[in-house]
Symmetry: C2
Subunit: 638 residues, 2 copies
């Protein structure tokens, strides 16, 4: 992809990036390949999602294909295609192509392609784009088609979705007889930009731009659409619109509101459209929205979405811990948004959020074994509650009826190669540190970079530069915001690299085999939240490098909610075999003693009896891999 006026970076392709299997990310990607992807296929098969594309359901058969089933299959196709880029295997390719062919066979003669609306409610096609995920499913199918095309070179699915996109463009738009609609669940916007990039067909970008620009305009399409269904305009329309980010035109929005996943997808699509069209005003709106979420509405884990009700963003600084929704999909959406902002601005602050979300609130969404999932990722669970009272499960589930999260995890993990490196002009950027190799063309030169590191457990990164012939270019190494001191050497000698927008720039003439060594100091940090966050006043969290920690009940005799951390307590980081190998943080803490209460619920304060205990904090992303029980990220300071 050529650089555009509003696009500073071009990511390396998946085939250009190899993760070492035993690195931290590499392990998770391998599990994703060997366990989670097959499970996702099996669940889609067992639940009828895949076979629904055979279009042979008829009433009154049980298990009618649901409105959003198509999207789950599409996300499996997308993930499976990504994975093939570095791990081609004929069996996997066969399974993938079989599903692709099945999907293609479901396309109608006019290009339409949606199982539910073709065989369950054919008379209702395009009558409720506000609520019913029809364009959302189309978007996921397009993303799958682009992924399949990019990895396999086959245009089969891409052409099918091109025809579907053409059909959609004939139905929606500002022309006579067209619906001035847009999807209640954004997704197709970013997907159409992918279609544009894959095919070069401007019409897909135009449709994406229309969908972005039309959103939230008055008179409101969703009222007109409701009236056309014979429904009264709802008294709660404005709230409904806001939940769908359709309460005002997107350029006028400066607060991330409503359904968290929808918000993240919409803002990602906005950034895509802005980048491709050079629309600085739209990009400025994206920056405002970004600043809002990153400085007002993001959990320390990279979770977003404070409310179970409506799966919604909270107000500014509203970040309750135990009732946090922080849907896995929403953190993935945040990463999608961050990636686009990073490409547009080449500013490490976006990569910092990618790292925060990926290493914490996203990986927490899937078990180490790869076969169990969280839909929401709370920052505290008071495990003393019995099932009736439990507000959040502390046990990952095998699957969900609404299975957006597992299928989102598989496609993110399978596409991680696109997040590590990118290029710009005569520079190679390193955004994430992970053992493996990357190869790219840089100003007519073949450059390969080998990373050796135990990151995120250790801050030392050894980089070996391979070039087919010596030459000058810049190696841009991200200095994470969490890092306060680092050392950089080239071939063993200190290198004074200027740092701008979070990247240390090493500009020199590189020879084959040059060695770069970056040492990021990684002490245990106590982190506090802005006091405007009511739920974290008086509390502290533990972080080391990019990893946010938590206390789990199974490591403690005292109830986790009763533990507080003295400000002066020494904290020790230690590498252990636990949980697949990780660094834990240990030290002395204080637990309120439950003695002396005689069954009373309240009593006058004299003093609160406490006892000293040893505590152990484990990475938040690895919690709930042992026994169920209480957990907390934030501890009372003492």
């Amino acid at each position: 992809m050529p650089a555009k006026p509003l696009r500073k970076l071009t990511p390396l392709g998946l085939a250009q990036v190899v993760f070492l299997d035993d690195g931290f990310l590499g392990q998770r990607i391998r599990t994703n390949r060997n366990v989670t992807l097959p499970i996702a296929y099996r669940r889609c098969k067992e639940t009828g999602r895949i076979d629904a594309f055979r279009m042979d359901w008829k009433p009154p058969m049980p298990n009618p294909p649901h409105k959003f089933w198509d999207s789950d299959v599409a996300k499996w196709v997308e993930a499976a295609a990504y994975d093939l880029a570095t791990h081609p295997q004929s069996e996997r390719r066969k399974r993938l192509d079989a599903v692709v062919n099945l999907i293609a066979s479901a396309q109608q003669s006019d290009g339409y392609l949606n199982v539910h609306y073709t065989i369950v409610e054919p008379e209702k096609r395009w009558t409720n784009v506000r609520d019913n995920h029809e364009l959302y499913c189309a978007g996921h199918l397009m993303e799958a088609a682009v992924a399949h095309y990019r990895t396999t070179g086959s245009r089969k699915m891409l052409d099918v979705l091109g025809r579907y996109a053409d059909h959609i463009a004939s139905v929606f738009g500002r022309g006579e007889g067209q619906k001035r609609g847009y999807c209640g669940h954004p997704e197709i916007e970013l997907a159409l930009v992918k279609m544009y990039r894959a095919t070069g067909e401007r019409k897909y970008l135009d449709l994406a731009k229309y969908l972005v620009d039309e959103r939230g305009q008055q008179p409101h399409f969703y009222d007109a659409e409701a009236a056309a269904r014979g429904e009264d305009p709802r008294a709660d329309s404005p709230q409904c619109w806001q939940s769908l980010q359709a309460h005002k035109p997107v350029r006028e929005q400066n607060e991330v509101v409503g359904h968290a996943v929808r918000a993240m997808y919409l803002h990602s699509g906005m950034a895509d459209v802005a980048m491709e069209t050079g629309d600085a005003g739209l990009m400025a709106a994206c920056r405002k929205l970004w600043d809002n979420v990153a400085t007002r509405k993001m959990y320390i884990t990279g979770g977003v979405g404070s409310h179970n009700t409506g799966e919604a963003m909270g107000a500014n600084y509203e970040l309750p811990n135990e009732t946090a929704y922080a849907e896995t999909c929403a953190s993935i959406g945040l990463v999608l948004f961050a990636r686009r902002m990073l490409e547009a601005h080449a500013d490490a602050k976006y990569a910092d959020v990618i790292e925060r979300a990926l290493y914490n609130g996203i990986l927490s969404g899937v078990s180490l074994s790869g076969d169990k999932f969280f839909y929401s990722n709370p920052l505290a669970v008071n495990g003393c509650y019995k099932p009736e009272g439990r507000r959040h499960q502390d046990v990952r589930q095998e699957w969900f009826n609404v299975s957006c999260c597992p299928t989102n995890v598989i496609r993110l993990l399978a596409s991680l190669g696109e997040y590590v490196y990118s290029t710009a002009d005569n520079a190679l950027y390193v955004h994430l540190y992970a053992s493996g190799t990357a190869t790219t063309e840089l100003a007519g030169r073949t450059v390969s970079l080998k990373q050796q590191t135990d990151y995120p457990w250790d801050g030392q990164v050894a980089l070996t530069v391979r070039v087919d012939r010596p030459g000058a270019f810049s190696l841009m190494l991200r200095i994470p915001a969490w890092c306060r001191r680092y050392k950089l050497t080239v071939n063993g000698k200190g290198f004074a690299a200027p740092v701008a927008r979070g990247y240390a720039r090493i500009t020199r003439k590189w020879s084959d085999g040059d060695q770069v060594r970056l040492v990021l100091e990684m002490p245990v940090e106590r982190v506090v939240a802005n006091p405007a966050v009511p739920d974290n006043v008086g509390k502290v969290a533990l972080q080391r490098g990019p990893i946010v920690y938590c206390l789990e009940q199974c490591d403690h005799a005292a109830p986790v909610p009763s533990i507080s951390l003295p400000d002066k307590a020494k904290l020790t980081a230690r590498r252990v075999r636990l949980l697949g190998g990780c660094v834990v943080i240990e030290g002395a803490a204080t637990a309120v003693s439950p003695a002396d209460w005689k069954g009373n619920l309240y009593r006058p304060y004299r003093e609160v009896q406490t006892k000293k205990i040893r505590f152990r904090a484990v990475p938040y992303s690895l919690w709930a891999n042992r026994r169920p029980g209480a957990m907390t990220v934030w501890l009372a300071r003492q």
Copy 2:
């Protein structure tokens, strides 16, 4: 009422107890009479609830009478009748009798009396007692009938409800062709015991006993009933049963679970049946349930019900503050349960809870002006949130579609006279301290007691005993559990009264005009919660006498959630004109300073900058009478 084996106390009747209009309770009762009762009538009228009893609604007219409308009208009748006991007025009596006559006119020839099921869904009568409040409405009508009879002497409504009860007894029971059902929303159990007490008809007690005993038996009636409706037994039946306290026979229940109001009403009805039948096993179950709620599941405000979802009890010790549901009705239900346990056991621990709930979590449910209401009574509101994010309203509402809470408040306040005094053998019990007078017969003697006090703002209570002739009896004065030191004098001389079960017993020969003076020391107390309550670890609440305090945003420049209270800070109580005249607590506190954050959401902890501030705490029951904003009962200790 004669004393029974399991009933130790007999409350004074409403006509025997007069509150002084300018006392704390007297003021609220007067507002209830002059403002809230007329408003409740008007709302019931405006919304069609009253005129629904004309039975002239026909489809497709708008606003069909709802399944639980009858109960709102019944609760107004009950409240209006109670109020007439001390304040007879011909206009009010006319309005009351008109409504009573209207209700009576709606009775069917077979005795049935339910507006919705007579004119909206006549074919569905008694087909879903699990969900549809049919017996619940009957119960409220019975309570209204008994109140009307007791105050006015008219048997009009009592006889109508007697016929309805007879009809119900013919439909439900263990006889052939009868339904072995019971209501999903308990209420009729305690109402039938009132019918029994008012009429002396044992059959009503028998029906109450049947309903209590049948609950939760297997095979489960609610499954049979669902099957009869052609519905599949639900997979979630056990959870559903638990939410209705029908998961097991009531004698086997030892944890208060499910819908909080239903639980309180059921357990009240159980206590009633146990008292009247002398069923010690049933009373033992009541004690277990009481201990559970009072020592595991009760907010410091006397609120019960931790969950918005299902309006439900939480698990043991699950008492979240901001998301507390603590429905006004549930606290009223707790008072109903406590009153019965008090009558059964003559133990002040039950009166302590009546006082706690009444002075805090119930009075908070209605504005000082008497015309605005809270449905739920959270213990914290983080007022920095804008409406989208606000999890709890900090603004009372004029009415609700589901208007159980306002109509419950009016009947409780109008019946408060029954909660202050009771008699046993040769003893007069004083449970609550409030200016006013009481008159009763005690062992053939007319005894009158005059209370003069500024309680709850001041702990001094002056009691004047009037007797028609001198004689010996015991005056039993409750020493509240919150009180650690008190002084008692009789005619100016110290009196060493033995204290048992929370009552100081003054046994002597009384002469007309004897003066008793009780001085309850009422310092400001810091209160802590059992450390098993995760949400209150490290926190402290302020209480003075029975009054629980809170901080409101409108009294503070610093955000209320950022305020913490040093353990050593001196606390001062001061009488002010604010909020109708009350005692506020003031002192020095600490607020986290929001400076120096530069818009960041998280940062490494160095030190948290704080500033000293003055704080003012106001009675929780009086919050949200000024401007909306943040509020908290529990403060971080420092």
